[in-house]
């Protein structure tokens, strides 16, 4: 009985994390208007009951700004992680099935991208794409696929030698059908876990690139923008401007990491009971 209960509590944690993240995303979209609203009658308020996260130097509600920023981060994270994971899947499969030459090319690309520090690469691509939403998404998506691509390449190479794949090939099944029917199903757990574990990286890099001024433009309520602006007010004692948005970002990242970890536990047959 303990085993089913454990599995159920894992499932419950997963659902809880998904619900919280979805709630933040929706709330952020709905509060986008309020986050922009400035009112100089209530500027620089300490956290209180009416404004739990306080207000900033333009009298904007920090709770609304934080939620809108997180929501934007989560949406960017989802998009970039999905694009990145798909690139990884395609590259991994190409590298492992298209022969030695394709493998060397893909491995060279992986080494190349991995060799440059992430944050530098994200900044360069973002600048090249004209900063803003497009720049950040392209930058993060093009720099995060490498490690997952390696995992998938290794997995496909192992699968290729599996007797049931060899047997299917002897029965004249075409290469593409083998990839579709036999390999993709086996790659799903790795792929999904990799995808979810990409979120925290994507979100953090989006925030840091924006913080450094190479990402989203400053009128958007992004977490990176909030943090970089509040830096200037920290020294004058307005600690709440950076503290609450920062903590919220860490919590969202932890939630995603927890989600990925639990989903891996659920999908991996070796640990399905935990």
């Amino acid at each position: 009985m303990t085993t089913t209960n454990r599995r159920r509590s894992t499932l419950f944690l997963v659902l809880f994390a998904v619900a919280v993240l979805a709630a933040i995303t929706v709330a952020g979209i709905l509060l986008n208007g309020r986050a922009m609203e400035s009112d100089f009658a209530r500027k620089n308020l300490m956290p209180c009951l009416e404004y739990p996260f306080g207000t900033d130097w333009m009298g904007r509600d920090m709770l609304a700004r934080t939620l809108a920023g997180l929501s934007l981060s989560i949406r960017i994270g989802l998009l970039t992680a999905a694009v990145s994971a798909c690139i990884a899947l395609v590259m991994g499969i190409i590298s492992a099935t298209m022969g030695r030459w394709a493998d060397s090319v893909v491995c060279f690309c992986i080494d190349l991208v991995m060799g440059i520090p992430h944050i530098l690469l994200v900044m360069l691509i973002s600048i090249a794409c004209g900063k803003g939403f497009l720049g950040v998404v392209t930058g993060v998506a093009l720099s995060h696929w490498t490690s997952l691509a390696r995992v998938i390449r290794g997995e496909v190479m192992q699968l290729r030698q599996a007797p049931y794949i060899l047997a299917a090939r002897k029965l004249g099944i075409r290469r593409w059908d083998i990839v579709r029917r036999h390999m993709l199903v086996h790659l799903m757990p790795q792929f999904l876990t990799g995808l979810i574990l990409l979120f925290p990286h994507a979100i953090l890099h989006e925030a840091s690139v924006t913080f450094l001024g190479f990402g989203l433009s400053s009128e958007q309520p992004a977490i990176g923008v909030i943090l970089s602006e509040s830096m200037r007010y920290l020294t004058t004692g307005k600690w709440w401007l950076a503290l609450f948005p920062g903590i919220s970002l860490v919590i969202v990242v932890l939630l995603f990491a927890l989600l990925g970890e639990r989903i891996r536990l659920l999908l991996d047959p070796a640990s399905a009971q935990e």
Partner: protein, 204 residues
């Protein structure tokens, strides 16, 4: 029409085992209609020879020919099919057995009945069948209409005697009906004497 499966002076070394070939200058010929027994102590390359004959591996020297054409590069359903020692590794654990079986095209009803394969199995996953049931299943899949040679690598070692007898009597009947060539690898001398028309031993 008689066909010939032939290994000519094949030498094979597994990658990473430098200088220690598993097989050295081995030749073996099987005609269709023949049932050739193969015996050798463990680790002398019986399975490796099967893998070479079925075209899973390429020999470093020598050739494996089916009617004069190399087996390795054949397209479509290979006329040489191999039965593996462990059936549970040869079926995709995440696919229903019906899907796996359909890879061999529509399978003859008579074949399924003679192998006692029940319809209900098609909806199941490999983990839900026993080794013997899976082995019969693999046999049905390997007996594609295009198959002319069947290499049986210890296919009955883990079965009970009744199932062994059923499988072998079925295989002999089927081989005679379709004029198949069989290569039978086994450690059991009595089995080989009972089933085979000719017995070969791998040189030490």
């Amino acid at each position: 029409m008689t066909m010939t499966l032939q290994a000519n002076n094949v030498t094979f070394t597994y990658r990473g085992r430098h200088g220690a070939p598993v097989l050295q200058n081995i030749s073996l010929t099987i005609q269709s209609g023949e049932r050739v027994g193969l015996k050798a102590p463990s680790g002398r390359g019986k399975t490796t020879l099967c893998r070479l004959l079925a075209g899973y591996e390429r020999p470093q020297s020598g050739q494996v020919l089916l009617d004069g054409k190399p087996v390795c590069g054949m397209r479509g359903v290979c006329p040489v099919q191999m039965m593996w020692q462990h059936p549970e590794t040869v079926v995709d654990p995440l696919l229903r057995l019906g899907v796996t079986l359909s890879e061999s095209g529509p399978v003859d009803r008579r074949l399924l009945e003679e192998l006692h394969i029940e319809d209900g199995w098609m909806e199941r996953f490999p983990a839900e069948l026993s080794g013997g049931e899976l082995q019969r299943f693999c046999l049905a899949r390997a007996l594609n209409p295009a198959t002319r040679f069947l290499l049986c690598d210890e296919i009955s070692a883990m079965l009970d005697l009744v199932t062994q007898a059923q499988i072998w009597s079925f295989l002999i009947r089927e081989a005679e009906r379709r004029d198949l060539g069989l290569l039978i690898v086994s450690h059991s001398d009595s089995l080989l004497e009972q089933v085979c028309t000719r017995i070969e031993t791998l040189p030490v």
